[in-house]
């Protein structure tokens, strides 16, 4: 008997972010910083220099008061699959410091290999990568809260969202210790997903029909960012607002978004 989904087959971890629920509060951003030992400096207002794996973008519909609308969009690394694992960033790295793992779909970043040429930063259409211009410094005593599961990065290298890969390792270790081959959906969740007070983020294996993301990404509200570049991102967004879906890619004025034609406008 042939199973539709092989339990031990390759995984494709991905995320679905519901922008109707997302409030732009920023918990995901701070949960990520706390989980992944992000540094901080006295002035973090130059966002090009600020080391954050997940950023929130504010979209607006550009209309005057009171027809204005805004929507926040959390942007982790898209863990682009490209065509057969040719992610834009992976393809250009001369040091093989970033790699597409076909067993999990996760694009890794190996800090000890990275020598800071920043080709990947130029190649990434999502600005998902950040460069460490300085060594991280914690005020005396504050290094006590650092998470031993994630190494601290040093000056001169590039870093980005890892889909909290260390959590997958912990989950795998636990499953292995308990004699299981499979990890459950709730055993591997990213820090941002877990923290989100609005429950806007759903994370799981896009290949597994039993995981919530499998169905959600097929919603008529679903879209991906700059899909037409062929990056094949694994982060999906949901929005009932046409102008938000439209902001996700470079559409022609009279072109409908993927699901737009089927949708009744949620808000006038």
């Amino acid at each position: 008997m042939k199973e539709e989904h092989r339990q031990d087959g390759p995984k494709k971890y991905g995320m679905v972010i519901d922008l109707d629920k997302c409030t732009g509060c920023g918990s995901c951003m701070v949960a990520c910083m706390s989980e992944n030992n992000a540094p901080f400096r006295e002035d973090e207002s130059d966002k090009l220099l600020s080391v954050a794996w997940l950023r929130l973008y504010k979209l607006t519909n550009g209309k005057p008061y009171p027809d204005t609308d805004v929507c926040y969009l959390p942007r982790p690394c898209m863990h682009c699959e490209g065509h057969n694992g040719h992610s834009p960033c992976v393809s250009v790295c001369p040091a093989t410091a970033t790699d597409y793992d076909s067993a999990t779909g996760i694009v890794s970043q190996i800090y000890t290999r990275c020598f800071g040429c920043r080709y990947c930063m130029a190649a990434c259409p999502y600005h998902a990568r950040v460069f460490n211009w300085w060594d991280p410094v914690w005020p005396d005593g504050m290094e006590k809260y650092l998470n031993p599961d994630v190494s601290v990065r040093m000056r001169g290298i590039v870093e980005k969202c890892s889909f909290c890969y260390h959590r997958l390792q912990r989950a795998k270790d636990k499953a292995y210790a308990e004699g299981r081959r499979e990890i459950r959906e709730d055993e591997y969740q990213t820090a941002c997903t877990q923290a989100c007070p609005a429950g806007a983020i759903t994370f799981g294996d896009l290949n597994n029909p039993k995981h919530a993301v499998y169905k959600l990404r097929k919603s008529p509200r679903a879209f991906r960012l700059l899909e037409r570049l062929g990056t094949n991102p694994k982060v999906y967004y949901l929005s009932s607002r046409e102008w938000v879906r439209r902001a996700g890619d470079n559409y022609l004025a009279d072109e409908a978004t993927g699901a737009g034609k089927h949708m009744a406008e949620h808000k006038g």
Binding site: D20, K21, F40, D43, Y65, K144
Partner: protein, 746 residues
Amino acid sequence: MKVGRRRFLAFGIGGAVGTALTPLPWKLMDDISIWTQNWPWTPVPPKGVVSHVNSVCTLCPGRCGITVRKVGDRVVKIEGTKGHPVNDGGICLLGLSGPQFLYGPSRVRSPLKRVGKRGEGRWEAISWEQAVSEVAKRMGELRAKAEPHTVGCLLPEDRGSVAQLFARLLTVYGSPNVMRRPSIEDTYEMALYQTHGIIGRPGFDLQKTTFLLSFGSGYLQGWGSPVHMFRAHSHLLSNSCRVVQVEPRLSISAAKADRWMAVKPGTEAALALGLCHVIVKESLYDKAFVDKHCQGFDAWTDEQGQKQPGFKELVLGNFTPATTAEITGLKQADIIELARNFAKASRPLAICGRGNGSVPGTLGEFMAVYALNALVGSVGRSGGVLALPEAEYLQWPAPEMDEVAAKGMQQQRLDGAGGDKYPLARYRTSYLAALLKGGGYPLKMLLVAGENPVYDLPGSTELKKALADIPFLVSFSSFMDETAAMADLVLPNHIYLERLEDVPPVFGLPKPLLQLCRPVTAPQFDTRHTGDVIIQIARALGGGVAAAFPWPDYESCLKQVLGGHFARLHKDGYLEGRVPELRFETASGRFEFINTEYKAKPAYTPVIPQGDKGVFPLVLTGYDSMRLAGGAVADSPFMVKSVDDTVLKKGDVLVEVNPHTAGQQGLAEGDAVVLATPAGRARVRVHLSHRVPPGMVAMPRGLGHTAYDPFIGGKGVNFNELIAPVPDPVSGLDAAWGIRASLTKV
């Protein structure tokens, strides 16, 4: 060679070498990496046994359940507790920042005594024995002079054992001046009393609501219990319920709502009454509920035989769609449609209290929203607003007052709350600056615990001056905040992660919820539980004061006053109460649209912002964001880092200005301007935004700290320096939604 991903990401060790035909490029790259990285100092966090401890976050009034992840004895991460009745796993930025507060550079590490000039920042570390005896000595002197009432105490809460220990201390010592900052909880409490005759707070049954109508409440910006409200909103969305936000500025709550009704600022109550008009006129109201449970809908004759107009007359006579449209700036058709949709929904609910709820607002407005809920039968039923009577869960032995104490307690409160002028108010702390200068008598000593009035109260510039005149200021803050920086003595409390304390019920939840905050780690510094310090001060005062504090320490006191609750709280962390039955304890035994005793009634009371229109052509209003903590607890470095560059750029805060207004004033994006109001002036930058109407300037609360460390302080401007309170004539509480302002290019 293939290196497992585990190694890549768990690393620590470098030098995994890829395969290549010639080693030369790899050698060169290796050299470059060595030169660029130089392997400088980077901490390697020690490994250890991972454990999780459950407790409660008390950084804001939300009181989320938290699960603290520890590695060895280090606190590494704070997560929301799954299945917890407040937050079910979710957590906000402030809650996530706990470890940064615990180990942060702004913690006060031991008791401190001021040695330099006030506010100069020169301190001497002293022992706890000395700290306690200095406070007791001062208090003893004032008591000996028969002036115990000149000692005041400012707290964030009046419920809970520590607040009540303070109140007990001041009672047996002889001062009526225990103060807390009022908020929308106070106005809700008054409105509940006027309509239900019950002393308590409302609960909102949002899980069963099908239509949420919010009159400016920032339900996604910190209103009520923040994470609870987030979850409620997502729940409403998932169940295709409608959410309508009434607010002049496009806040995130407005943006996430199905419909945003952009009213003129300050006119929300008029809309509520306009909706009532349509509902009454078109007979869309719940007749069964009104007939069975309500009083004052129709005209009635009071005890003196006077004819009193009913609520029906009040709304039919004054709030026609045409008048309401005129006042609010909305379209008549939109008002009528909203009224119909709200009335026809199966379980509608209206809420009020602007922004994050820190400004109390007018009683008339809260009663108008109560009336709206009553009209549609959403009072005391599932999906509606419930009345949770104040339940005193702490059992205190009755204290005995000696003669000095009894005399002191007979003095009028400094803030006049509960007096002849404002009989309904419990606290009027928003006017502290004016009260300190022109109150009935001077305050000679002020104890501040868990509050930061120099930053947090409106008119903070004036308040700072007034506080500087108090001869003896004692702060119990864990952090070197703006008020601690001005104090004579700082007696640092443990932070919430280090202490045991009861956590009183959370505002807005549909059920009473009592919780216990537990130490998740040993105190990091030479701090002491404020509960213990109060007991020690009382002991040092001796006599009748000491006699009222028979406990050896705070923990035994807590166990005694919690009685049977303690064991259960200790085991489960929280105790959920039951939803009370629908009942009214007013004179009529019904829901009173117009209170038969006090005649308080639903009303639209225009609150005019302070200032001369000629000098200040614009109006400044504050807004709340989850990324900034606007209250007594400051932001964390991570929170400041998360703030958009359209809100904070280098040291400057950006204020939102409508492009139309900016054009008139010749201002462009990013321009530096002086923002002036009758209360103060500050340098800010302009951010052009269609989220605000022409004529309005919007500024975030939560920036402009002057104390703390460079990660938190010195960024932008404190909104409270630019605003001044405006009293509601009925309740006396602050109802200012804005202040007149001007922008001048520099």
